[in-house]
Each structure stands twice: as structure tokens, then as C-alpha cells.
């Protein structure tokens, strides 16, 4: 029972508060589910975002790189924060000492995402070993249709002295 209490699920709020992003490059609104094996979260692309002015001219569509980024922030970083928390029982993860880097991405895109649309990211862990987290990610639109999917990997480094 004691063991279980240590590995208590972090709330969506706790995870979001540890994210190293802020506006205008935060692409997570809410984490709906997280456990050892995966995570689900949502984000609404703001109609007012500046990139819609140029992507494309007179035809605003969310850039694929930002869909990938949304998948990475929810599917890799939020899950990584949760998994690291489970492994470091005593100390809290401090955002100042969490270093992250995307190491690979392979995505396929099927549908466009228009300004103002809410998307859901579903991520399944393939492995988290030697600081590398690799996941299968899928992004769905509000009609639950698959927008894009792929495999993302990132490195997580946590140091107590900020090294």
C-alpha cells in the first residue's frame, strides 16, 4: 500500500505546471489520462495564432510541424514528466533541472486542422530506457477522425545541480 501511495498519479495540473513551455509555444491544454504506459491530452489551436496569417496565404491551416509539436508536448514531454516523477520518489522534478530534446520524429498526416479546432493526442509508450522515451502517437480531430500518427522519441535528463 505504501508503495502505491508513492507512485500516486500526478494530476493534470501538476504535470502542466512542470512543462518547460509557455505561450506562444505551449500546445497542451489538458491531460485527460496518464499512466505508466501512455497519456491522453487535448489542445485547442487558437484562431488568433499568428502563423495562420502565413500558413497558408488566404487559407489558414495548422502547420504539420505544430501538429507534431502538439503530439510531442503531450505524448512525449507530459508522459516523460510523469514517468520521471514515478522514478524519483523523494524529490520533486524541478523544471529548472529538467532537460529535454526531441531526438526523432516520423509522422504521417491525413487530415487538415483548421483554426480553433480542438485535437486529442493519444500516446503509447514503446519504451523509456536510459533517458530515452519512444512513443507511438496519434492525433484525432473533434470528430474522432485520425489527423496524423507516427513515432516520436526524446531524451530526458534530470540533474539535481543543473549540470
Amino acid at each position: 500500500m505504501e508503495e502505491k501511495a508513492c507512485n500516486k498519479i500526478m494530476t493534470s495540473k501538476e504535470i502542466l505546471s512542470q512543462l518547460p513551455y509557455s505561450e506562444p509555444f505551449l500546445f497542451v491544454d489538458e491531460i485527460d489520462f496518464v499512466d505508466e504506459n501512455g497519456v491522453e491530452g487535448r489542445y485547442t489551436f487558437k484562431k488568433t495564432s499568428h502563423f495562420y496569417q502565413g500558413h497558408f496565404k488566404d487559407y489558414p491551416i495548422t502547420p504539420g510541424v505544430l501538429l507534431t509539436e502538439c503530439c510531442a508536448q503531450i505524448g512525449l514531454v507530459c508522459l516523460g514528466i510523469y514517468l520521471l516523477k514515478g522514478r524519483t520518489k523523494t524529490s520533486d522534478i524541478n523544471e529548472n533541472t529538467l532537460q529535454i530534446a526531441m531526438s526523432s520524429s516520423e509522422m504521417e498526416f491525413y487530415l487538415p486542422v483548421i483554426p480553433g479546432e480542438t485535437v486529442k493526442v493519444v500516446s503509447e509508450k514503446k519504451y523509456f530506457r536510459f533517458n530515452k522515451l519512444k512513443c507511438n502517437v496519434r492525433l484525432f480531430n473533434s470528430e474522432e477522425k485520425l489527423v496524423c500518427k507516427g513515432v516520436l522519441a526524446g531524451m530526458f535528463k534530470q540533474t539535481s545541480d543543473g549540470k
Partner: protein, 82 residues
């Protein structure tokens, strides 16, 4: 021993960047400094090594795996301990 070295070379080869050739892989080659393999791909090498030799590596093994020779030594030790 020679066979293990050959198998290891075949694994490492997959993760070499374009500007490093398979002939550059020597026993004393440093994975990150000389073969320009990034830390993410070094993890892939370790995972492939585990599958190929049916062994498990720990974080300490990974920390001590700087060169090809280091990797071979770890592989030999793990196989001997099986």
C-alpha cells in the same frame, strides 16, 4: 570474441551519421566523440545489443560505455554472468 566484435560493428553501423564510414569503427573508437553517434542513437545501440546478445544492460553499464572496446567488455561480462 571476433564474432561478437563483428556483430557489434554491424549494429553500430546502422546508427552512423552520413559523414562517418563503417571502416571508421575501430576497437578504440569513441561512440560520441569519434563516431559522432548522438545519445539517442547510443540508446538504440544498447537496445539492439541487448536483443542480439540476449543480455540486459543497466544505467551504470551505459555510463561506462564510451568506446567500442568498452561495449565489447560489457557484452563479454554480461554473457559470462548469464
Amino acid at each position: 570474441m571476433q564474432e561478437r566484435y563483428q556483430k557489434l560493428k554491424e549494429i553500430v553501423q546502422i546508427y552512423l551519421p552520413d559523414d562517418v564510414s563503417a571502416d571508421d569503427i575501430q576497437l578504440e573508437s569513441n561512440f560520441t566523440q569519434e563516431l559522432n553517434i548522438n545519445s539517442a542513437n547510443l540508446v538504440d545501440i544498447v537496445l539492439d545489443v541487448e536483443d542480439t546478445f540476449d543480455i540486459m544492460l543497466e544505467n551504470e553499464d551505459m555510463d561506462g560505455m564510451l568506446t567500442v572496446a568498452d561495449a565489447l567488455k560489457i557484452i563479454d561480462t554480461k554473457i559470462a554472468d548469464k
